[in-house]
Assembly symmetry: none
Homo-oligomer: 221 residues x 4
DNA sequence: AATGAATGAGCCTTCATTCAT
DNA sequence: GATGAATGAAGGCTCATTCAT
């Protein structure tokens, strides 16, 4: 690690710092000190603090994808299995072993407060990931399900995963550390989200479910 | 507004600034200028920039709760209706009319990067909100459903709502502005989440669903 | 001096530094150190290094004018006397006792490399000074002398004075220190310029001198 | 031009940059970028930024002299013609076609703020130029005119020319762009300075003019 | 001979905070 | 109670220069 060339070392040091403190609060000094390089290196190799940030964000996505790759399944596998696997992988990417890794924390920042790196992040990372989920849902939904519904179902699944990333601390405060320790392992959570989502998905396969007006299934206020 | 006393004006001005830029990037100068008060007012009335931040966060929660109160329902209303109402209110709080209001943006920051204000926020705001959801779920779940499952189902519902708050920009990039304009109104999203969640909840009322091991319902990898 | 308020002290210290080193080479640190004030004072009181420079330039003009005021003459004095006095005052302003004072050095910089302070400098300082010379020349020139000729004669007089300010060092190298010590006192130079200019002015009073084409008075090449 | 060797290209690029911004404000980066050479070239070929500056100044003088050479006159030409030609050449050198060329702007900087290149500049350039003027004046002045007077008359002539170089911008602000466009061509200015100076020179040929005390020709204050 | 990488010094500016009034 | 002035610390960045290759 210490023998890498300067830009690589800066990039490696910038990741955790930006993830922990955000763009503003992170200082170039701190990053260069952590990387063991000269203070001017950032400006020499990346021109800007901002350019360094953008490069760091891009690298975070590639890195996390490589750390937790999406396993390839035989094409004949049932969609329920595929969905469970997708959810498991997604959650694993987001949670890590001991707290969310910096790559994910950095990407979460980017999702919530998009910078100029966001567009590329969506194109190279979020969209392919989401497309993969859509392909699975296509096997679980009737062919006449409208596109926006397929999307929103996708967001319902992603949102459940994402929430354990975003609100982990608040959730711990609410349910207590004991329950978390006992029941909030990545596997257990993936299992729950899978069950919850598969059960929800089942309804859309019932005949007429897509045409029933909301007012019919539930009384108005 | 301009006739309020100094601390109030500072607090009012600090809200949007902290929400937009975060604690670090926000400057005391900017806040005081927006409030039309002396630069030293923050330190005089709040001792610290940090104390001001904490007060602003607390105020944000109270304010947002007052803006979008949870409607009271007759105790006899069916739990499905109660759930839909809860989801609608939650989403409305999060989304606002034109983009998320500063109160919500600020609270989202606090959820993702908790400060010392977080604990109080959970106690006064998130936990009561979550408890209300639990009460509704208690009517929809069998009595023997374990506590952690009730919690996780709650998080599945909250997470779906929260995702539209957190990832709105990324979602727009993925599905396109047209679909968002046509199908992502607060009401439409609330309806979708309600349907999705009610369908998922139905399974837990089936006999034996709570005892079936996951490995039984789905084949292993 | 040391009891003046901060902006005044900064301004006083900035004068010589800017005059010696120019805008770029002068450092805010050096100025503040010379003024005995905090480094941030410049930005607090003048917002910018540039604003401080502009203020310093303006102040230099007023200061120098007050140091060497143009003496008032009785209206009946012969124009030759007025001209000599004008030249003497102009030269004295430019030369000072021991080298050009910082006010003049700074203004010379501004003449050669105008900044945004230049326009105001011309309006408040150079133009009134030049107008005074024009009034004297009006008494020495025939009424039908064209305006541009009056102006150029003015510049011929100012230019002679200015040259001792601009090229002093080069002139010393050319004629030697001895000649300078013996014959280049401000008074002697003023006397020479006066004689030279009055003799030149005499020709324009000769009848026909203004209509004679240059080709008549001097053979072409 | 682009095929010249590196030092030549650096020198060529340094000229305009130093002329425009001065030694301090000019950056080695900018010069090397303009020259299309490596950033380290300056230090490699010239050791210093300062050495490069000095070389550039020297080159500027030689270059300008070659661009506007002093025309050779038949020895029998009348001194008035010689003087007019001298003034014309001097002014042309200083003014250029569209603004002063970088060579002159750079030399002007050197005159006003002499560096170590100045001495050589005087020896190789200014002094020979001034000597040539002195030779002309020798034909126009009585033999007993003292040396310092001959010098000062020379400076009076050079100073008139130089002033259009130094104060051009201020002069434009004072007399207006229209008058400048109509009456400040290099030829017209040379004509005026020649007329003005020749008329002044005439007086020194009058008997007794050199011995008359100033107090006799003009009343005291 | 020439260069890409790296460096240490220093720049201007901004910041939250304090203090005398 | 409130404020204008002042401050020390730090920030990002640029610069001329050096060095290994």
């Amino acid at each position: 690690m210490a023998t890498d060339d300067t830009p690589t070392r800066v990039l490696a040091a910038a990741g955790p710092v930006f993830a922990d403190k955000g763009f503003q609060a992170a200082t170039v000094r701190e990053i260069c000190q952590a990387a063991g390089v000269n203070l001017a290196s950032v400006n020499y190799h990346f021109r800007d603090k901002e350019r360094l940030y953008i490069e760091t964000v891009k690298r975070a996505a590639h890195l996390r994808e490589a750390q937790v790759p999406m396993p390839e399944l035989p094409p004949g596998a049932p969609p329920e299995v595929k969905l469970r696997l997708f959810i498991q992988t997604t959650l694993t990417r987001m949670m890590g072993d001991r707290g969310a890794p910096w790559q994910v924390r950095l990407m979460t920042r980017e999702v919530l407060h998009p910078s100029s790196a966001c567009e590329e992040l969506v194109r190279d990372y979020f969209r392919p990931h989401f497309d993969r989920l859509q392909a699975i849902l296509n096997e679980l939904l009737p062919p006449d399900a409208p596109l926006h519904l397929r999307h929103q179902i996708g967001f319902s699944i992603i949102g459940q995963c994402m929430h354990y990333r975003v609100a982990w601390h608040v959730m711990t405060l609410i349910v207590g550390a004991d329950e978390v320790a006992a029941h909030y392992s990545t596997d257990a959570l993936a299992e729950h989200i899978t069950q919850f989502s598969l059960a929800a998905l089942a309804q859309y396969r019932k005949p007429g479910s897509l045409t029933a007006a909301p007012s019919e299934s539930l009384p108005p206020l």
